[in-house]
């Protein structure tokens, strides 16, 4: 059910459609997917939009196939994306690991639903730890969590930029509640959406190596397969100067470089990646740290509490990984209590506890796993109970 008035830039859009539009605005022209509720609208939007843009939207045999089609297309120079949900998020993990190890860019949108396994199609935030720790090996992922339809658009734009500039898979951790919500949003002129692309080699083809860079935190320039530069992409551990046949001699130093490099290239830029929004945290005695769909409940609870004269603030986390620990520390510095509402039984709260633990500020989780969104009353109830103690 799409709007026939294409000329209007203020549109009523599903969160899922906004993710697809954000990716398209950011230059994604290759999508490979597998249908799954509640993420299918993203796939359908791409299938409708990409052919007219000269792009490719293809349905693969499973999510694993989608991910590896993305890997091939990214290696050939395309900006690529896929979307999935819970059970499919399990299946894309192998592909995310491949892209992370081979250092190829892709955007993976997970419209979270209840799990484990098939669970149900209803809303949840149960895969946020999986976003960081879902696949094997040591790595640092980047994950962004939209809390509104407009943020579905902009987090996907940013995810494409981070993926391209850092040569790695980047996750958009949407939710059924956000993805299947329609909101009236202003869309920008896509020509005005300018993002940085992948770093390109300036050397001669003969000097090019797929992973050549000086420092651990550098992002190696990336040439497309077929552009005249020879690439050897490896999901195996590899050194910076690997030129193929690198597997011929085992080198423990290369393994060490590879693992440290994958972490360093992200953590070195953690402040550029950090995306948070504080609301009235300056004087707040209680800070609600919220992300995704829980942000709306946190803001509504804050408003009600402020009307009662209580100093409550909200710290909205848009970037979940790497965990924006400096921002949490900064905005909770004066708090006497930190609340962490989540649609799971306590996942990101562990990170908040880890960060605030040394300061002794008590951290209290608020959890819902009954498929509903967080209600403002869920948070107000805890606020009232805490005030009465």
């Amino acid at each position: 059910m799409s709007n026939k008035h294409a000329q209007s830039r203020r549109v009523l859009l599903l969160g899922n459609e906004a993710c697809a539009e954000g990716a398209i605005a950011a230059g994604v022209r290759f999508y490979a997917g597998y249908p799954i509720t509640p993420a299918t609208e993203i796939f359908e939007r791409f299938a409708y939009r990409l052919p007219a843009l000269g792009g490719v939207c293809v349905q693969m045999e499973d999510e694993c196939g989608s991910m590896h089609a993305l890997l091939g297309a990214a290696a050939a120079g395309q900006r690529v994306a896929t979307a999935t949900s819970g059970p499919g998020f399990n299946l894309v993990q192998e592909g995310i690991a491949s892209l992370a190890s081979a250092e190829l860019p892709a955007v993976i949108i997970n419209v979270q639903r209840i799990g484990p396994s098939t669970g149900s199609i209803h809303g949840a935030q149960m895969d946020v730890m999986q976003a960081q720790w879902g696949f094997n090996g040591n790595h640092q992922t980047i994950a962004l969590a939209p809390s509104s339809v407009s943020e579905c658009f902009w987090t996907t734009v940013r995810a494409v930029e981070l993926a391209e500039t850092l040569r790695m898979p980047v996750l958009v951790m949407s939710e059924m509640h956000v993805g299947l919500m329609r909101q009236a949003v202003e869309l920008p002129d896509y020509d005005e959406v300018r993002i940085e692309g992948r770093p390109r080699p300036t050397c001669a083809p003969s000097d090019y190596r797929t992973y050549l860079c000086k420092r651990l935190e550098d992002v190696p320039p990336l040439a497309d397969i077929g552009s005249g530069y020879r690439n050897v992409f490896q999901v195996t551990t590899h050194g910076s100067e690997t030129a193929g046949g690198g597997g011929m001699v085992w080198d423990y130093k290369e393994a060490d470089w590879h693992l440290r490099h994958l972490a360093a290239k992200v953590l070195h830029r953690r402040h550029e990646i950090e995306w948070v929004e504080p609301f009235a945290t300056e004087d707040a005695e209680v800070v609600i740290v919220a992300y995704g769909s829980c942000v709306s409940a946190a803001l509504a609870a804050m408003k009600a509490a402020r009307q009662d004269g209580r100093r409550v603030g909200v710290l909205k986390l848009v970037s979940l990984w790497p965990f924006p620990e400096d921002a949490v520390r900064r905005h909770a510095a004066k708090a006497e209590l930190v609340l962490v509402p989540e649609l799971n039984l306590g996942q990101m709260v562990r990170e908040v506890e880890r960060v605030l633990g040394p300061s002794g500020i008590p951290v209290h989780p608020i959890n819902r796993v009954d498929s509903y969104y967080m209600w403002p009353d869920d948070i107000l109830g805890v606020l009232n109970a805490m005030a009465g103690r």
Partner: protein, 183 residues
């Protein structure tokens, strides 16, 4: 000011489309904050279903349903289930031909012969648009012009005229009978 509308009934009654048209009228053409969501079940016709619309002046309004200011109930089951959740000063808009028992919150019930009006307009299935226009008229969240513009954008061509006519008559009925104003 936050206005929450719930369209409730069975799958196939066009509840989600009603939500979309109201949200688009108020949000896109009216320029308000508008958010629309639905109870989501696999694609099977005929089961219980509802769609929520939240319209507000604030960009940070809570976007999902909590307790509706207006409930549009198009089946007895949905009336029985949701009437008690309506806000204290809220309204329950319902078609007596579809919902014969209207005892719950009787003081807040507003009857509207939506199906009959839609039939007169050319298609009984357009009862949803009668209700959209009536809700807009009763709450002031959208103008008839904006509702009809949203119908133009969202309803397939062959049903367009009937839906536009249904909205017009729903609007007039609400203005005249429910608000006591001349259209």
């Amino acid at each position: 000011m936050r206005t929450e509308v719930r369209f409730a009934g069975d799958g196939g009654q066009g509840l989600v489309l009603a939500g979309i048209v109201l949200a688009e009228a108020a949000g896109v053409y009216g320029g308000h904050y508008a958010s629309q969501s639905q109870f989501y079940a696999p694609v099977i016709m005929g089961g219980p279903s509802y769609a929520d619309v939240v319209i507000s002046d604030s960009d940070t309004a809570f976007p999902w349903g909590t307790s509706p200011n207006v409930l549009v109930a198009l089946t007895q089951r949905s009336f029985d289930h949701f009437a008690n959740r309506v806000a204290d000063d809220g309204l329950v808009l319902t078609d007596p031909s579809l919902v014969p028992e209207r005892g719950i919150r009787a003081d807040r019930v507003v009857p509207i012969p939506a199906r009959e009006i839609a039939e007169r307009a050319g298609a009984a299935k357009a009862a949803n648009m009668v209700c959209v226009a009536a809700v807009a008229a009763l709450t002031g969240v959208a103008t008839l012009e904006h509702v009809q513009k949203a119908i133009d954008a969202r309803v397939p061509g062959r049903l367009l005229d009937a839906n536009r006519a249904a909205a017009k008559q729903g609007w007039d009925y609400a203005q005249k009978v429910l608000c006591g104003r001349e259209a």
